[in-house]
Symmetry: C2
Subunit: 384 residues, 2 copies
């Protein structure tokens, strides 16, 4: 009974994700960390309770798609335009420095260029969702520093997706030539620009047409159809599917039904996104990180985490405006989160990153995400 196995697997995945996620939220962390840990524990690396079947894998991929669609839906293109030079500069430095340092260190350790590119790319990701939550909890969302971080986040998401598109293409062709990188960046930028410009013009008419339908559930189904269709187009162009889902979210965020779509996509995301995070965790092999084992990636994971944190703090140096505190901006950029996980996953599937390095990278993502909230809170303690 194959369907029963899927049901039992899902029940375990969801219960583990919710319990661990709740525990993390209680200690002021993000639920995503708990879901990753839950995956490590129930996966083949520790308890071996759940294995990734084809159906579970498909649900996890749909989860990643819905996640990026939701991220796009919550981003505001006008925020991006308002973010201005200060936020853009922070985002650019926050992408360039970690990439350069990540690439350099792997190159220095004697790894091939393709692998070094993946590690660099994983380092570029920023997940300010976590930072935004901490700042909200502290009542600091109106601070000048908070506005810079949140503005930089939108720029960062877009830069990250372009890098991901390039990296995916590089993994497929296997070459890191300037021509390939140029072509792929061009395609990714062209896709985003064309999709967004055409989408923003057509979306209002489409949403009005959907509003005239009588059958139930029309809005949510067509929204997901839109995301899935753009994802498929991105894939056909040799880009990552999630760039299409993100573009679809950005476009629908400009329509009058945005709040309605967000509300209806939420329960779908609540069910599917944890499946993605748990299966990411399931691929981690904790044995490879055992500090007392002979062949260990433990020191590599610690080294990479330190590099990831320090290289991201450089973004704080890009703050030139008066009245914007440097440290909250720098620390706010540190958590790597979801996008970093997707980068590492693409590398694993493409065979560029081996399982032990993948495990180390997931640890980097988890530690950076774990470190940011208490650090930010400490920075604001006693501040006016």
């Amino acid at each position: 009974m194959e369907f029963r196995d899927l049901l039992l697997g899902l029940v375990l995945v969801w219960i583990a994700a919710k319990l661990a996620g709740e525990a993390m939220e209680r200690i002021g962390q993000t639920a995503v960390l708990g879901e990753l840990l839950a995956g490590v524990i129930i996966g083949p690396g520790v308890l071996g309770l759940v294995h990734e079947s084809q159906a579970l894998h498909a649900l996890a991929e749909l989860g990643a798609l819905i996640l990026l669609f939701e991220v796009g839906l919550e981003s505001d293109l006008s925020d991006l335009l308002r973010a201005g030079l200060q936020a853009t500069l922070v985002a650019l430095v926050g992408v360039a420095a970690p990439f350069a340092v990540g690439y350099a260190i792997m190159d220095w350790l004697g790894h091939p260029a393709l692998l070094a590119v993946f590690v660099g790319a994983t380092f570029t990701a920023t997940s300010v969702g976590i930072t935004a939550r901490v700042l909200r909890d502290l009542g600091r969302l109106q601070d000048a520093a908070a506005k810079v971080v949140l503005g930089a986040a939108v720029v960062d998401d877009i830069l990250g997706l372009i890098i991901l598109a390039v990296v995916t293409g590089v993994a497929q062709t296997g070459s890191v030539s300037l021509a390939t990188v140029g072509l792929l960046s061009g395609k990714a930028i062209a896709f985003l620009v064309v999709a967004i410009l055409v989408g923003i013009r057509l979306a209002p008419a489409l949403v009005r047409w959907i509003g005239r339908m009588q059958a139930r559930g029309t809005l949510v189904v067509y929204s997901v159809v839109f995301a899935a269709a753009l994802a498929a187009v991105a894939d056909l162009m040799g880009l990552a599917t999630i760039i299409g889902a993100f573009a679809a979210g950005l476009i629908l965020a400009t329509t009058e039904r945005r709040a309605h779509i967000e509300e209806h996509i939420k329960p779908v995301a609540d069910l599917l996104v944890p499946v993605f995070f748990v299966t990411v965790g399931m691929k981690v092999q904790p044995a490879m990180l055992n500090p007392f084992a002979e062949s260990t990636q433990f020191s590599l994971a610690i080294l990479l985490t330190a590099v990831a944190v320090v290289s991201k703090l450089v973004a704080g140096l890009a703050v030139y405006q008066r009245g914007v505190r440097r440290w909250p901006v720098a620390v706010g950029m540190v958590p790597r989160g979801e996008v970093g996980l997707i980068f590492a996953g693409v590398g694993l599937v493409a065979g560029v990153i081996a399982e032990d390095l993948y495990s180390a990278l997931i640890v980097v993502v988890m530690l950076t995400t774990f470190a940011a909230p208490p650090w930010l809170k400490a920075l604001y303690r006693g501040a006016p």
Copy 2:
């Protein structure tokens, strides 16, 4: 790129389902009919645009599970208790007569007992959701006849699930002995009684505990976990998974968070349930129903539809209360809808029903569902 195929398949399934469903709603029919037709058209039988992959199949099965969970959530156990003798009698006759007639006619046509049992079982289903919508549109939901039909519906759903449990078990063992049938009925009834009695006692505490969680989406995830877990238990007992999902819905319908759960499960159902109906339609081979072909099941489909309609009308004879109009009750019981589809599907998967008979049965379900709304409207035309 396997994930891209799934995305493209889903996009086609959703667009076809929504367009055909909308067209049906516009002519006063149910969207389900449109979704089935959409499946026939895009499936291998006609255009061959979409084929049922493993991932699509898993999504369709999850759709059937969510559908029955929703049906349970919308059912009211207190309605069932209030429905009283009149509604119970209508339901019993409305199940017994079609089963007997369906079995007899297939037996008379020389088919094996197991096949005759499946056809009889498919005939027992009632989908009063359609009737309820028509009565609501006509402003007749407070009629005595409407109350009898809606009360009978709940009894009918439960009887239908017990029959499905028995039929599933019979298909697995391959024997239709009195002992097997007795054992399976006993198991199904015991499962429902124990699940509901224990569930109703534990659910309020569980829902309160969930209410204390801070992470987002906790209620919807645990609700689906509950449905999936009971479905897996039912499956382990050799019953159909959907009986577990239905029981989970019935139980959660008694808690104070019922409306909240319904609201959050709706977008999930909106996305997954059409996948189920479309894949059901995809299995229909219209060529086998071509009236001009040599080897045709066309006359069988017409004969079975006539038998299915007439045998269900017998339920009207069970009306003994004064002031309850017989014909609206009888016609209100005619649509077979979702449950009939699931019966036929179980028979197909078990290899008891061949593809040509399956196609004929889907036609029976569609025609009975198609016939009821105009017939009901005609009955009420000019009525006080």
